[in-house]
Amino acid sequence: MTVLLEARGVGKRFGGVQALKDVSLTINAGEIYGLIGPNGAGKTTFFNVLTGLYARDAGEIHFAGSPLPLGEPHRVAAAGIARTFQNIRLFANMTARENVMVGRHARTRAGVIGAVLRDGRTRGEEAAIRRRADELLHYVGIADRADDLARHLSYGDQRRLEIARALASEPKLLALDEPAAGMNATETAALRVLIEGLRADGATVLLIEHDVKLVMGLCDRVAVLDYGEKIAEDVPAAVQKNAAVVEAYLGGSLG
């Protein structure tokens, strides 16, 4: 088991609120790792710190052997971490295909000169971007919507599109923020198939989710955050029985 991501003692505060405190966790390559906890526990904050949207106040994060750049999301993306957002952030007025093409930005190079000259290399790159985008749209199952504006896609399709866009950057780690939010049972089952397929194809997935059934059935390991601190990190079955976890969610023992 190689360690892909290692976070040590990560801390983040906003004014008077300590949103993350001494959070340490390890994600192994090829696994599906779940991050759960009650609302406000700091899960999305951790994501934002990880992907560079917020600058962390304390701790280190090592990814694929190197420390992660601080506070620069585009460099984190280039390093190989791609994410989706809790409140879907697509480019609403671009087509589905164009959205995914933008996802390829970090792996392509054409600049102004290439754009203006449209030399062979640039044209080749553009064609490759387009091809890859179509492949990814097909992979997540929305190939028939490629030319529709992202705004016009159904909710479930939008989530899939966001995943396709994240995949476009060939990430080593795919970080999904509540991908099943707002989905019914059928859609969630389909999503589960998709994520398992990702793992089968060699991706590592970090997942924030509230859907307990999905998490327990899908994840290899799970970490639980509560009030910004990690209170458990283990296989799902063990976490489910962890007293501290139960108390965090239910506020006290049952019965």
């Binding site: 999301p73 952030r89 671009m94 754009a115 203006v116 476009a168």
Partner: protein, 352 residues
Amino acid sequence: MMDARRKANLGALLIAAALVLAPVVVGMSFGNAWVRILDFAVLYVMLALGLNIVVGFAGLLDLGYIAFYAVGAYLYALLASPHFGLHWPIWAILPLGALVAGLFGVLLGAPTLRLRGDYLAIVTLGFGEIIRIFLNNLNAPINITNGPKGIARIDSLAIAGKPLAKGIEVFGFTIPGLYLYYYLFVALALGIVFVTIRLQDSRIGRAWVAIREDEVAAKACGIDTRNVKLLAFAMGASFGGVAGGLFAGFQEFVSPESFGLMESIMVLCMVVIGGMGHIPGVIFGGVLLAVLPEVFRHTAAPMQQWAFGKVVLDPESLRMLLFGIALIAVMLYRPAGLWPDPRHRRELAARR
């Protein structure tokens, strides 16, 4: 029925013909004064296209764009006039103007592009004003810009040593200088159009739209938003610089008065009213706002004479008044402009 390809080719041919014949038609129908206005219109179209990259593509509101025009113009004036006694040729100054203006763009953009839209607008406005104030006052203790008096007797544009103003003889016909200026300007404007179209449909162009749509998501996709925005700023600025140089060589006189906030706003109007981000719309806006005021100037006074017996509204203030009203009306009813990109219209309308 023609297929799409032949239709497109025919369209292009018609446009080309119109472009070539425009000064002739205008000159014969309305006189040389209007050909001069046409020349200015092309300069404005260049400015509008440049600003379009900044405002229309990247979504950055620049209220001080005219400063880059000023930089290009004054650079030309300093390098090709009796002021310093230098007389560099056009092919040296114009690229230099583009470079220097682009540099100013980077200087302005580097610290400020991370600001939110409305703050950026005010800062760029301030920058434009600072440039104008410096141009107005850098005549003491060393005289760089000659202050409010401006720099006169600038070398007129010349190709291969031959001043365009004199016109040329071709097959026994004399093509007047004003026409030659027009063709030069159109050639360069077409160059700018070409570059802009290529940029629009490219990795960089997509990145600009992505930033405009959702900057956070754009960053998560690996786009270095700071540099990509700087690129938009610098490119827009450099086009402004080129147009500025042409302006100086055309008018043969520059002064700080031509480069104030009103001019920046006018160029912004061209982009906004024409059709933000939509190249044909922007060109349309540029021509409209360059020509209409002149139409007013020539008709408003006589019309008022005829209607009221005297001139009630000075044509200049009438123009500004109508500008202001047009801005408000367009924002209220057609926020994507008069001739928008079909997609952009939906974008701005949807967000209400």
